[in-house]
Amino acid sequence: MPDAVRGASQSASWSPGVNVVPPTGTDAVPQSDERDLVELAKAGDQAALGRLFDDHYARVYRYIRVKVGMEQDAEDLAQEVFLRMYQALERYQHRGVPFRAFLMQVAANLVNDFYRKRGATGKTASLQGEDIDLPGDEDPADVVVLQANFAEVMEAMRHLTELEREVIQLRYAAELSIAETASVTGKNENNVKQLTYKALGKLRKALKEVDAGNP
């Protein structure tokens, strides 16, 4: 990574030009409301179903996009996730498993199917400027830095184990909480914290090697 680009990410915030960026859509719907929506959707209420879709589509799409890379594949799979979700909705009981965790389980299985059928491995997500949700006043130069840094860290994710990669994708693309990530991966919360710590450590090491010209 060029020093100038790297330098841009060394600020005290996560995104150059943007200080703290609250996650979009996270906790947009309180759990109790969401449970009501799910029950209404199960009963055939189309408005409730539409609301569930609206609340979670972007999250599902992002999660799949970073897993499969290609935009078209991600769009098709995200659509399929919601159709399968609807199939399984009647069997869904809350029982401590948040709806979004349930949804990500559907997505994870679908992506596994996708890879098994294609016999392919995950590709690095490539982003265009228009793929990134930007505040209106964001400097285009910062966007370039964002994209470069993101591409680099996505490339470095091949150094992670499958489980570590899954945890990172669930935490940052799907924006799940630690508890939700634990639910999807079948691990406990301490496991998830440890996996996150190890994954970030590995990514740091890999990026340092890239900087040193020894990828």
């Binding site: 879709f53 199939q87 930007l134 940052y172 301490n190 450590g201 990514l203």
Partner: protein, 526 residues
């Protein structure tokens, strides 16, 4: 001891990292503040938080609006198909001995042997209306339909008969201009529409489509376009009835095509993107897919566990193209929607002048004639049935029209969100389906209030509890329509379901898509 200490430290560091990540992500603290809160780990935390910042861009990836809209439509359509009404008159209601159940078919067979067989040899399938043997041809069709007990066989027969009607129209056309045979062509178009509509409704109700039917519909579609479109385009202005019949036939053709393309095949359940209906529709309980839910879909309480180990799955993940995939917003102005409002108590016939003065694309309604009403009732009566209502439209009408309010009230699940529900207007529920009804009348209360490239918005200022028929002419197709009052949640209407009942001042938004050549067949003048 050292190992335990190291383990504890790692866990503490992981905890501090997790807390810091959440705090930064939620905007509760800056990186500096997090480091200050955990000074003993600051040196290790800082680079990890910066790396996390690079990854956090993933949370800003934005899906395209088009893809979102397609996915949303696919989901809601799947739900709409699933929630279709159960058959109005299920066979199980009347319990008869099995041999008694076959009695009508046996009688028909005897009649067939005694009367029809001797003349079968003389029945020419090329006969057209006006030929001496045409009535035999149609009688033979009815007998064949009566003898077919399997739903798939009956639908295949109807498709065969629909194609025959097209052939007959073509032959009549070759014998002279369509205008010379306008009444006969109109009648054939209506028969074609009724047969195809029956196939579409039955298939939709079952939620799955047998491959043979799928293939036959796909073969029929281009043939129908070749026969029907010239009629729509070339029919003289004073032959509005034949033009309307052709428009309805074209719409029903598109409906059938959509069903063939979107419903899961009974032989390949994984093909579908709308497989939900097959699993949940009550009438599809015997369908194979019902017994084999997708194994790759997790149970709500199960955990993925080791995601590195793929779970066995039999479901293809190929995202099949759906109707949503073709729902590209049309490039041209969607000036072609026919939205007719018919206050059912006393339909008011508006004048052509009224149509000309409003900015409504096509409002070419006609006053319902007895014949049209009969056709419409027959079509309504068959919505949601399992095609067991009998071979002749008149029989279906007589038997089931009283059940229509039930069908209408159960066929629109979202209607409960609307002030004007079907249950509030049971008498009006005996209504023609949008596809079976010729545009009826121009209503003064229907006003266009907005347009965009792929939708038209209308405001209804007429009386409450009004049925609205929404029909798109050639060149466009209605994807769905919404109607709502003020800020209340919108209710969605899909083509093929009973007409929406609207109230005064409700806003109707009709979503359109272009079929084939944009603008082809539009007979609209703004």
């Amino acid at each position: 001891m050292l190992g335990i200490h190291r383990h504890n430290r790692e866990q503490a560091l992981a905890d501090a990292l997790a807390a810091s990540l959440d705090a930064v992500r939620d905007g509760a603290a800056s990186i500096e503040q997090c480091l200050a809160q955990h000074p003993q780990f600051a040196a290790e935390l800082e680079p990890l938080l910066l790396i996390a910042g690079q990854i956090a861009v993933a949370g800003r990836i934005r899906p395209s609006e088009t893809a979102r809209e397609h996915a949303r439509f696919a989901l809601l359509q799947a739900a709409a198909v699933k929630n279709r009404p159960i058959p109005i008159a299920p066979r199980a209601v009347v319990r008869r001995r099995s041999w008694l159940a076959l009695a009508p078919a046996a009688v028909a067979a005897l009649l067939f042997a005694a009367i029809a067989v001797p003349v079968l040899g003389s029945v020419d399938t090329n006969a057209v209306p006006g030929n001496w043997n045409y009535s035999f041809k149609r009688a033979t069709e009815r007998v064949r339909l009566a003898l077919a007990t399997d739903s798939t066989d009956r639908r295949l027969l109807r498709l065969e008969f629909a194609e025959r009607r097209l052939n007959e129209i073509e032959r009549l056309s070759s014998q002279g201009h369509v205008e010379h045979h306008a009444s006969q062509v109109t009648s054939l178009l209506k028969d074609y529409t009724a047969d195809l509509n029956q196939v579409t409704n039955t298939t939709q109700a079952q939620g799955q489509i047998p491959p043979a039917i799928q293939q036959q519909i796909e073969a029929l579609t281009p043939r129908a376009d070749a026969v029907i479109q010239p009629i729509v385009q070339n029919a003289a202005d004073d032959k509005q009835e034949v033009k309307n019949a052709a428009q309805n036939a074209a719409v029903v053709t598109r409906q059938a095509q959509t069903v063939a393309q979107t419903l899961p095949s009974t032989s390949t359940p994984a093909r579908a993107v709308v497989p939900v209906a097959a699993q949940a529709a009550p009438s599809s309980a015997s369908a194979p897919a019902t017994a084999s839910p997708h194994p790759s879909t997790p149970a709500p309480t199960e955990t993925v566990g080791e995601t590195a180990t793929p779970t066995p799955a039999t479901v293809t993940t190929t995202p099949a193209p759906t109707t949503t995939g073709t729902a590209t917003p049309p490039a041209q102005q969607p000036a072609a929607t026919v939205v007719t409002a018919s206050p059912t108590p006393t339909p008011t016939a508006a004048t052509a002048q009224a149509a000309a003065t409003r900015d409504v694309a096509i409002l070419t309604p006609v006053t319902p004639t007895p014949a049209a009403t009969a056709t419409a009732r027959a079509a309504t009566a068959t919505v949601g049935t399992n095609d067991s209502s009998g071979p002749t439209p008149t029989a279906a009408t007589d038997r089931t029209v009283t059940a229509s309010p039930v069908a209408a009230s159960t066929a629109r699940p979202a209607a409960t969100q609307t002030p004007s529900t079907a249950t509030a207007t049971p008498a009006r529920s005996v209504s023609p389906s949008p596809l079976a009804t010729r545009p009826a009348s121009v209503e003064a209360g229907l006003v266009v209030v907005g347009r965009s490239p792929d939708e038209v918005r209308y405001q209804w200022t007429g009386p409450a509890d009004t049925l609205v028929n929404i029909v798109a002419p050639l060149g466009t197709s209605v994807v769905y329509a919404t109607y709502q009052t003020g800020s209340q949640p919108a209710t969605i209407w899909y083509p093929g379901t009973p007409s929406p009942v609207i109230s005064t001042n409700q806003l109707i938004t009709v979503k359109l898509k272009t079929l084939g050549t944009p603008g082809a067949g539009l007979s609209v003048t703004p």
